[in-house]
């Protein structure tokens, strides 16, 4: 399969190379060799707790802290990665295991997998050797791209196995027997021939003093008792008691609160705060200030008071070139760009353009479009930062990575002319993230305010209105797809031209010290190439269509729209070929047995082909993403008045090796429902340069009454783990659009597929656009 150079990989590799040059200049390659990329060394004892390695801390009472340096934002990763350690250590997976996000940025925690795209278990060669050390030194720890299991399951297996062997060695010394006579079970080291046993807790301190084994032996898969079994999540007991600490819940003594107002038109600067004296005099207000020339913050002794005061702010914003822009203008720009010559060529096999030109009569062509959408994480955007009198800073943020916190705090304190001598980064529980919390915006703002109020922690919370209307968005996008069909109706050439604002360029402009530019931005074109379909001539091209709207990472990025485009289009090709959409895909997957198995499974689950009553329809879609393959069948009912309901979604997924099957299922359920909301309801529109939506009443979400049943099956796989956090959302919109076509004969080529009508308090219905 031809490799498409990922722009993200490229830019991160660029960062790595830059960092390498720097490090080499300072300390040379010899210094890099000292970087502990495995985290197995440096055991220590402090009181009752014995640190065996960077991932495992054992206490004398037998309880264990497992360090999981990935953000828990709902995906169950703290449980999955703890299971891997428990498996290798022969620890019972029970309440004695506690998972923490470590504050230390140990090099072993680095998410170098995302940059180098090499699995840790397959890592070799000089580029990986240098890359993982440099990224480790940079503290590049990030939770995203559905990569947490792929990036850490092997390193944490090794850490667990190493800890187990250290415990055995400590027991061998204590019992004066060869370690080969010892086995481990349920948190004990056993000497079966003498019937003696030692509790892990009592061996912890001695084990921590030992040198870890150079190459710990991993447990063979045949002996696994935890991996692959349904385990209850470690974070749920607190979550049903209401006690977990989300960023919103962080409490620091003497803390003050802040709220913020961003410009209605993105990019507008503050000219002046018209009534600053009035707002400063309101109850509880401690400070009113312009942040980075662009926003206005109100600080108070209570967030509610600060927010009440902020509603009274009168701010004069500078005019911008975008003050008259509307969604219609942006849409016209996108569509016009599809006719501009010389787009960026992402990928080419054969001469798709020529084949299509030579087969004009059998060529299918269609244009699709999606709007901007918001993330709308349930936990509003927030950050808590303190800059202490001694010059140190500490931050508590629901963030997708501590490097974001570190850089964000540096940026914000820099606006105030302060450079902290040290920054402690605490990643809290995240109330949803979906890519939104990989941005540094709120962190820098909070740090600026903290620098103004030195010695007091400032908790900045964006009100929901700022999140929906002044935040970051999934890009609007369009595509023109063309395919020439051969004599048997199957495509002989495929040509995709995507038009969108580059995701990575917008993200980099806010979060990175350099910008790779838009061309070849993999995040924006992913899902257009359909490599798994056997087509001999294929071309993928892209057009960058900038706008003033800031784009953020958004659960599944380009796949969230491109798979809607492409899998709708495949149905259009099937229709032209007078073929069944399932059979058509099966024929195109003749060289892709893994995909074919997933497709066949979902068709079987949904009883594809069984007759449906009039007004009902069934649609199918499939995608490969994040090294997983996912297919869904949606069933819809469309009433005569156009009211549309998604009744059921069937989902089959091959995510490779499964650690915790129940949580893979949960991610597919949740992903599909996230996908239903975005397919049916979600639309951010722009008028006079500003977003028109403000809160959940006009940016609605599925509720229980609208939510379809989701039936998930995991397809057995002998591949290593793939990603699970994002695939669930990817095929949903296309499956629904295809189902609506089956039900009505109407091909809907833009999202959302329906208009949301309010029918009562917190009640809506979806009606097809007329």
């Amino acid at each position: 399969m031809p490799k498409i150079l990922s722009r993200r990989t490229f830019l991160m590799t660029g960062a790595a190379l830059g960092g390498t040059a720097l490090v080499a200049a300072v300390g040379g390659i010899g210094y890099l060799a000292t970087v502990d990329v495995d985290g197995l060394h440096g055991g220590s004892v402090e009181g009752e707790s014995a640190t065996l390695n960077a991932f495992v801390v054992l206490h004398s009472d037998g309880s264990v802290v497992i360090n999981v340096p990935r953000t828990e934002m709902g995906q169950g990763i703290h449980t999955g990665l703890a299971m891997v350690v428990a498996e290798e250590m022969d620890l019972p997976f029970d309440e004695r295991i506690r998972v923490e996000f470590p504050t230390e940025a140990h090099p072993a925690y680095s998410t170098w997998f995302n940059v180098l795209q090499v699995r840790p278990e397959e890592a070799s060669g000089p580029v990986v050797w240098v890359g993982r050390r440099v990224l480790g030194l940079l503290g590049f720890i990030s939770t995203g791209a559905s990569s947490s299991t792929m990036s850490l399951w092997h390193p944490m297996r090794v850490a667990g196995a190493s800890a187990r062997q250290m415990l055995i060695a400590a027991a061998a010394a204590r019992l004066d027997v060869p370690s080969t006579e010892l086995v481990t079970r349920d948190g004990f080291v056993l000497h079966e021939s003498s019937g003696r046993s030692l509790f892990y807790g009592e061996l912890a301190r001695e084990a921590a003093a030992l040198t870890p084994p150079a190459d710990p032996v991993l447990k063979p898969a045949a002996d696994w008792q935890v991996i692959g079994t349904r385990q209850a999540r470690v974070d749920l007991p607190a979550k049903v008691r209401g006690t977990p600490i989300f960023g919103m819940d962080v409490t620091v003594p003497d803390m003050i609160y802040a709220t913020i107002r961003h410009a209605p038109v993105f990019g507008a600067r503050v000219l002046r705060i018209v009534n600053e004296a009035h707002v400063r005099a309101l109850p509880g207000v401690l400070d009113v200030t312009i942040v980075n020339d662009s926003h206005v913050a109100v600080v108070g002794g209570s967030w509610w008071q600060a927010e009440q005061a902020a509603w009274q702010l009168e701010v004069e914003w500078a005019g911008t070139a975008d003050d008259a822009i509307s969604s219609a203008d942006l849409s016209r720009g996108l569509r016009a760009s599809l006719n501009v010559s010389e787009p960026y060529e992402v990928h080419a096999e054969g001469d798709a353009g020529a084949v299509i030109e030579a087969n004009a009569a059998s060529t299918i062509e269609a244009v699709y479009e999606v709007p901007f959408v918001a993330h709308a994480c349930m936990e509003p955007i927030n950050a808590t930062v303190i800059v202490r009198e001694d010059g140190s800073a500490e931050a508590w943020v629901p963030s997708q990575g501590p490097l974001n916190i570190r850089v964000g705090v540096g940026t914000g304190t820099g606006w105030a002319g302060i450079e902290p001598i040290a920054i402690t980064c605490n990643v809290t529980m995240n109330g949803g993230a979906f890519g939104r919390r990989s941005d540094q915006d709120v962190i820098a703002q909070a740090a600026f305010l903290a620098a103004r109020h030195r010695g007091r922690a400032v908790k900045l919370i964006w009100p929901r209105e700022e999140d929906v209307s002044r935040g970051l968005f999934r890009s609007h996008a369009a595509a023109r797809l063309r395919a020439a069909l051969g004599p048997n109706g199957l495509p002989i050439a495929y040509d995709a031209l995507g038009a969108s604002q580059s995701i990575i360029q917008s993200v980099a402009s806010r979060n990175l010290p350099f910008n790779p530019g838009p061309d070849g931005d993999r995040l924006t074109v992913e899902g257009l190439d359909k490599q798994h379909y056997a087509i001999s001539a294929r071309r993928v091209r892209s057009q960058n269509v900038p706008s003033h709207v800031p784009i953020g990472l958004w659960r599944s990025n380009g796949y969230s729209f491109n798979t809607f485009f492409t899998e709708s289009f495949i149905d259009e090709c099937a229709l032209a070929a007078d073929a069944d959409p399932l059979a058509y895909r099966q024929a195109m997957l003749r060289d892709s047995p893994r995909h074919r198995a997933v497709l066949d499974r979902v068709a079987e689950m949904a009883d594809w082909g069984a007759p449906m009553t009039p007004g009902r329809g069934r649609g199918i879609a499939i995608e490969e993403c994040y090294r997983s393959v996912v297919a869904q069948v949606a069933e819809v009912t469309v009433a005569e008045d156009g009211a549309v309901k998604v009744d059921r979604i069937f989902c089959a997924v091959d995510v490779g090796l499964v650690i915790n099957p129940d949580q893979v299922i949960a991610q597919m359920e949740g992903g599909a429902l996230f996908g239903v909301t975005s397919a049916m309801m979600s639309e951010i529109t722009v008028q006079n340069g500003s977003v028109m939506q403000t809160n959940f009443h006009d940016f609605p979400m599925q509720r229980l009454a609208d939510a379809p049943e989701v039936i998930v099956e995991i397809v057995e796989s002998d591949l290593p783990p793939g990603g699970a956090g994002e695939p669930g959302i990817v095929p949903t919109a296309a499956a629904i659009a295809n189902a609506i076509f089956a039900a009505t004969g109407r091909r809907l080529r833009s999202l959302p597929l329906a208009v949301t009508e309010t029918i009562g308090e917190r009640r809506t219905r979806s009606v097809l656009k007329s």
Binding site: M378, E379, G432, A707
Partner: protein
Amino acid sequence: MVAFTVNNRPADVAVDPDKPLLWVLREDLQVLGPKYGCGVAQCGACRVLIDGVSTPSCMVPVGSIAGASVITVEGLADEDGSLSFVQRAWIEEQVPQCGFCQPGFLIAVTELLQQNPDPSDDEIDAAITNICRCGTYPRIRRAIHRAAELARD
């Protein structure tokens, strides 16, 4: 001064009577289970029981609840810490993902099952209008039925 009880303990607060109960709970009483999600009674993350009635606390002025009994998610378990039927069902069905909205669901479902010990799917749809962005709805539905079973057995 407004006096009421929170999870059966007396609470006296000297604040602006217009301050919403949600923010009194979170800022003045350090009861952090109820969450701010939207501020306009749309999402339900802030729901608490006020004299047994599930209510979005983000829009209830604290001055209006003098003498009332407020139960938050922290008050659903027994004094000895044992979980309520609803909480147990939530664990058994492994409902929460990010968990931020769940305090509001647990409150709303607690009231529903007090009113209607064995609700049908339609009755559940009518009663439970909270928002969950992670999409835990299929498990919520199963857990409501499970909680009804647990309460019966």
